[in-house]
């Protein structure tokens, strides 16, 4: 049906998204590493993530970079939702998190509240970043890209003699641009639990 090569512009746009936001993030990372007096490890990531929920997927794997003493995180997640009666979903979620509040000690650290923004990209029949030419101008908005916002809390700790520098568990609440809009527009029918997805995850810093 809608199969006239939507993957090519989508893949290009996703690559641009990654490069466009990833490159400045890499610079931030390198500057941060230099500020700490050590060599930049880029392009090796600073942490890996395993997550479920948060509109990113049932099972989500991600890599990311930290900067400014871990107060700024940039993560790139790949998520998968298996099909049962519908079709499977794959998505890429780019996330920027601001983690300014930190409690506890170096060995056991609690980030009670952090917040961030994201861009969520998917692909397949019916999804497009550039509206196909068969539609009149202004007929549709792009369907393959949505923007997200999240808040979260993380508890992490140092482990001696571990392959990972720091282990952490986190919980986040994520909302989607269109869902938040509909919540504001339809205060009677749309409930807050309709527009928020919880995620639970594990973060290992290298």
């Amino acid at each position: 049906m809608n199969s006239e090569g939507p993957l090519r512009p989508l893949a290009l746009a996703c690559a641009l998204l990654v490069l466009g936001v990833g490159a400045p993030a890499a610079r931030v990372h390198a500057q941060s590493a230099r500020a700490r007096g050590g060599p930049s490890s880029f392009p090796l990531p600073d942490f890996a993530k395993l997550q479920s929920g948060g509109y990113s997927g049932t099972a989500t794997l991600g890599l990311g970079y930290s900067a400014f003493e871990d107060r700024l995180n940039v993560a790139f997640l790949y998520g998968y939702v298996p099909a049962s009666s519908g079709r499977s979903v794959q998505s890429l979620h780019f996330l920027l998190s601001f983690r300014a509040i930190e409690l506890g000690s170096r060995a056991l650290r609690w980030l009670p509240f952090y917040t961030g923004l994201g861009a969520l990209c998917t692909w397949g029949d019916g999804y497009f970043l550039i509206v196909p030419k068969r539609y009149p101008t202004g007929y549709y908005y792009p369907t393959a890209l949505r923007f997200t916002a999240h808040i979260g809390s993380e508890l992490d700790w140092l482990l001696a003699n571990s392959a990972f520098h720091r282990h952490g568990v986190y919980a986040e609440l994520t909302t989607l641009d269109v869902f938040a809009f509909e919540y504001l527009k339809n205060p009677v029918l749309v409930d807050v639990t309709d527009i928020v997805s919880t995620s639970l995850g594990y973060r290992a810093a290298f």
Binding site: M1, N2, S3, E4, S52, G53, G54, Y55, S56, G57, T58, G79, V81, S84, S85, G86, R87, V89, S91, L103, P112, F113, L120, T122, G124, D125, G126, Y127, R134, Y135, Y140, Y141, T143, R146, S153, A171, L173, L176, V178, F179, E182, K185, N186, P187, V188, L189, V190, V192, T193, D194, V196, S197, T198, S199, L200
Partner: protein, 271 residues
């Protein structure tokens, strides 16, 4: 102590919210609602005139739709409600669920046609799960209702299914005439206009009901009455159609107030 209370509040909120893995999913809690509502309708024993409510293009006007459901429930003798499509903006599962949440308050059975906005993103799969087949027909009170997908751009011009529509119109199963219900404007010069024109010229079609266009219109095309429902999201309009002795009367309603309308001048082909 305060930070501990904040943490507990956060955990409680996190547990209370759902762990929705994706906004692009297609799994629905309810299935095949059009079939279930057809069965409810056909089980009715009403002997009065045929009366149904037509509404369309509700998009994201969920709160307004919720209010309108109460207004429709207060109209006497409504056999069923037909939604001529565009129950969403982006074809997302959550949007279908919100519309269905509002429509579930209707006391009369409701039948939903696929709109073009419902056919983007994963909307085709969500619609199939939630409402069933894109095309379906039934006979009620001597009229054969033919509800079909006419979103030709979203289906690479494979919609409407011409063979299926032709077969439905060539066998009225004992009905006196057919009533076509679809989303797209059949008069659109870019659409399957020639096919639709030929269908209504050679078959006993007594009414065409469609949505998609913003304005309300009631007129004739090739001597067949056409009800153009208008975009409810913009106009708040729904229409009560009553058919008695092969004559249709129309009441155009907004915010619970209804005004009788007669067929206007012949409708021209829309751009």
């Amino acid at each position: 102590m305060r930070s501990r209370a904040d943490a507990l509040a956060f955990v409680a909120l996190a547990l209370g919210a759902c762990m929705d893995p994706t906004p692009f999913g297609t799994e629905t809690d309810e299935h095949d609602l059009n079939r279930a509502n057809r069965q409810r309708l056909l089980a009715k024993t009403s002997s009065g005139p045929l009366r149904f409510v037509a509404i369309g293009d509700t998009h994201d006007a969920y709160d307004e739709l919720l209010e309108t459901v109460d207004q429709i429930n207060s109209i006497a003798g409504v056999d069923f409600v037909v939604h001529v499509g565009d129950v969403t903006n982006f074809g997302l599962l959550k949007e279908f669920e919100w519309t269905q949440r509002a429509l579930s308050g209707l006391t009369a059975p409701v039948l939903v046609v696929l709109g073009n906005h419902d056919a983007i993103s994963s909307g085709k799969d969500v619609y199939r799960n939630l409402y069933g087949a894109f095309d379906f027909a039934f006979v009620y009170k001597q009229h054969k209702f033919v509800l079909f997908n006419s979103n030709y751009l979203e289906f690479s011009r494979e919609a409407p299914d011409r063979a299926w529509v032709s077969a439905q119109l060539s066998d009225l199963q004992g009905a006196e005439s057919a009533i076509l219900v679809t989303h797209q404007n059949l008069r659109s010069v870019d659409g399957p206009v020639a096919f639709c024109e030929s269908m209504i010229q050679v078959n006993p079609v007594s009414l065409v009901v469609h949505g998609h266009l913003e304005d309300f219109a009631l007129g004739e095309w090739n001597e067949v009455p056409i009800l153009q429902c208008s975009t409810f999201q913009k106009t708040g309009i729904y229409t009560v159609v009553t058919i008695m002795n092969q004559a249709a009367t129309f009441e155009v309603c907004r915010a619970g107030r209804c005004v009788a309308r007669t067929l206007g001048r012949p409708l021209e082909d829309a751009p």
